[in-house]
Symmetry: C2
Subunit: 375 residues, 2 copies
Amino acid sequence: MGRRKEEAGLSTNRSGGHRLTLTRIAEEVGVSAMTVSNAYNRPDQLSEALRERIFETAGKLGFHGPDPVGRSLRRQRTDVVGVLYSNPLSYAFDDPAAVSFLSGLSSVTEEADLGLLLVSATGGGLVAGRNPKAAAQAAVDGFVIYSMSEEEPLLATALSRQLPAVVVDQPLKEGVPFVGFDDEAAARAAAEHLLDLGHERFAIVSFALSPDGWEGIAEPDRQERAAFRVSRLRLRGYRGAFEDAGLSWSEVTVYECPGSTKELGHRAAEALLSSERRPTAVFASSDQLALGVIEYALEYGLSVPEDLSVVGFDDIPAAGSVDPPLTTVHQDHAQKGVLAGRMLVAQLRDEDFPNAGSLQTSLVVRGSTSAPRKP
Amino acid sequence: MGRRKEEAGLSTNRSGGHRLTLTRIAEEVGVSAMTVSNAYNRPDQLSEALRERIFETAGKLGFHGPDPVGRSLRRQRTDVVGVLYSNPLSYAFDDPAAVSFLSGLSSVTEEADLGLLLVSATGGGLVAGRNPKAAAQAAVDGFVIYSMSEEEPLLATALSRQLPAVVVDQPLKEGVPFVGFDDEAAARAAAEHLLDLGHERFAIVSFALSPDGWEGIAEPDRQERAAFRVSRLRLRGYRGAFEDAGLSWSEVTVYECPGSTKELGHRAAEALLSSERRPTAVFASSDQLALGVIEYALEYGLSVPEDLSVVGFDDIPAAGSVDPPLTTVHQDHAQKGVLAGRMLVAQLRDEDFPNAGSLQTSLVVRGSTSAPRKP
DNA sequence: TCGCATATCTTTAACGTTAAAGTAGTGTAG
DNA sequence: CTACACTACTTTAACGTTAAAGATATGCGA
C-alpha cells in the first residue's frame, strides 16, 4: 500500500534547476531582489503597480514569499519560542497540567505572532538517554524551560545559549525569570485544613523528590537532598504547619513515587496504610496519586473520609465528580502559562516585564476530608 | 515590580563586538572554520586531540555549537515539522481529541529527532481574521495539516509551498497523503445499533457543517453543501443506514452547532425535543454535545435511555463515568497522530510510506441507549 | 531657476553555516 | 622507489535574505 513521493503527485519548487528565490523573481520582473523583498515586507517602498506586477509574476512561477530560513539568518531572529520539556512530549500531552500550561502559553505567543516549538530532551537515537543537543539545535529566539531538574543537561545547554528565557516551576536560577506556584503556602494550607479538623497522624505521598526513579519511603536525608524544588517546598510547607501545631516531623512518613499515576498512589497507600500507627490523613502530590490512595483505602476496607482523609493537588476536572469528591489544591496552570508567555515576550521585545514569581493557589474543600473518627 | 533585561543579569553572546561563530573559534584555535564545523558534526574528520582543543576553546569563549539558522540555510532543511491548526492553539489544547492526536504525532517526530512547530491561523494583529502568512513564514520541512475547511487560506498557502505534507481528517486533496477515520462507517454502525433496538424517530446534533458559525436546523441543501468532510460523511452514514432500513431521510432533523460544547448540545436538545413528533434517539457528533443533550433531556423530564437514547462520538475519558454512561463511537486519536507522523517522516526521508487512509472506529455500547419505550 | 524634500528603486555587504573538491603529508604494498 | 591509499586538514562557494546607504528622477515652493 506504499507509494513513492514521485507518484504522489508532489512536485518540487524547482524549475530549470533553480529553486525559486527572491532573486529569481527579480530577474523575471526586471528589478532588484531588494525590491521584491520590499514588495513582501514594506509595501510603502515601491509603487502599487510594480508591487502588483511582482506578485503576479511570483504567482505565475509559484513563488510564495521569502524563505523563512534566509530571513531568519539575515534578521537574526526566528519569531519562534522553544518549549523545553524533560520527558517525552507525549507525556506532556498526557498530563492535564502541562496541557493547560501550554494552552495559556500559546494564547500569548499567538497574540505576539510567535511560533511555538516543542523540544524534548529525549532524542531519537538514544534509548533512554538525554539529548542536550536538542536545545542547542533549536532555531528559536527564547526558551520556556518547563519544570526541570537542576541537573538536566538540557537546562545547562539551553541557558548557555544566553537567549531570553523563563523557568517554570523549577529550578530557580540566578538571573533567569521564574514563574511557579507558592507550593510551600499551598502545602501549609492543606496541612492546616486537616490540623483544624483535628488530625494528628499524617502521611505524605509525594511524586519524585529527585529524578533517579526511586520508589519507597523517603527518609529525612533524602528529603533534604530533593532536587525538585516543588517537592521540597511542599514538604517544607507541611512540616512548617505540623511543627507550628506542636507535632514532630519525624513521625510523618513520606512515600516517594517516581511518577504521578493512580497505580503509584495505590502502591504507596498499600505501604502506608498497613503501618502500626496508621495515619488518619494522607497528603498526595497530585490528584492522580490521591485517587490511587483512595482506591486502595476502599479496597482495604477503610472508608473515606471517615477512616482516612485524603487531600490531592491540581484539581483536575475529574476531582469534583469522583466519589467521594476530592479535597485538593487548585492551581491555575493556564494562568501560569500566560505569565510565562508574557515574561518571555517582554524580554524578546526588551520591555519591562512583570516578574510574576509565585502564584497563589487555593484549597478546594470537598468530600474526601473530614474530622478523624473518634478513637 | 518590573525590571529591565539589563538588570536581570543576562548578558549577550557577544564580546568585542563579535557574535560567537564557528569562524571566531577557528581563528582562536588557528584552524579553518570547516574544521570547527567538523568537530561538531563529523568527529571522524579530525584528530581527537584537535577536536578536544576546539571544544576547550569553544567552552572558554562560551560558544555552544553551530548556529541552527545558519545550518538550516546551508543544509536546506530545518528538522522541524509544522502543525497547522485553523483555530487559536489554546482551543487545540482544550480539545482532548486534538491533544491525543498531538501526543501520538509527537511520539513519532521525537523518535525521528524532529521538532514540532505549532502554527495557528489566527495571528496577532488580526482581531478575528486569519493569517495565511503564518504558513508561509514557518521554517519547517513539512506540514501536518490538521482538520481544515476546504477554503481555509492557511491550507492553500501551506500546500503552495510544495513541502511534504499530510492532511488529517479533512479536506481530501489530490496528491496529498491523508489520515482520518472512516466516519461514514462509524455513523452507520451507530445508526444500525439504534435501528436494531427498534428506534424509528431520530434526530442528529452535528457540529459545524461549514465554517460560517451558523446554528440551527440544517436543511438538506445545507447538508449537501457541507464544507467539512467529517460532518458530511457522518450524515451520509446515518442516512445510508436509515434508508437501508426503509426510513425516509427527510424525516430526520439535523441540528447544526457551530462548535462542540455541552452548552451547544443543551441548546440543540431544547430545539429538538420540543418538536411534535419527538425523536426517541439522538446522534451527537461529539461526547460533549451528547452530554449537553442528556443534560437537557433530564431537565425536560425525560429519562435516558428509557425516553431518549443518545449516542456520542469520541469516547472521551468521562464518557464511561457519567450517569448514564455514554454509548459512543470510540476513535483512537493517538494512533491517528502516529500514522500522520509516520507518513510525514517517510516523505521527508523519501521512503515508501504507508498510505493509512481511513482508520476504523468501534462503537462502545454503554447505558445511554436502549430499546424505545413502547407507545 | 535653484534648493530641497519625496518617491522609487539599486547596490553592497553581510547573516553563519557546510557540501564538495582540493592539498599536503604519511604510510605501505609491490 | 613508485604508486596508491589514507588521514587530517583547507579552500571555495554558495544557501536566500534584508539593513543600510546610495542613486535617480520628480515635484514644488520660493
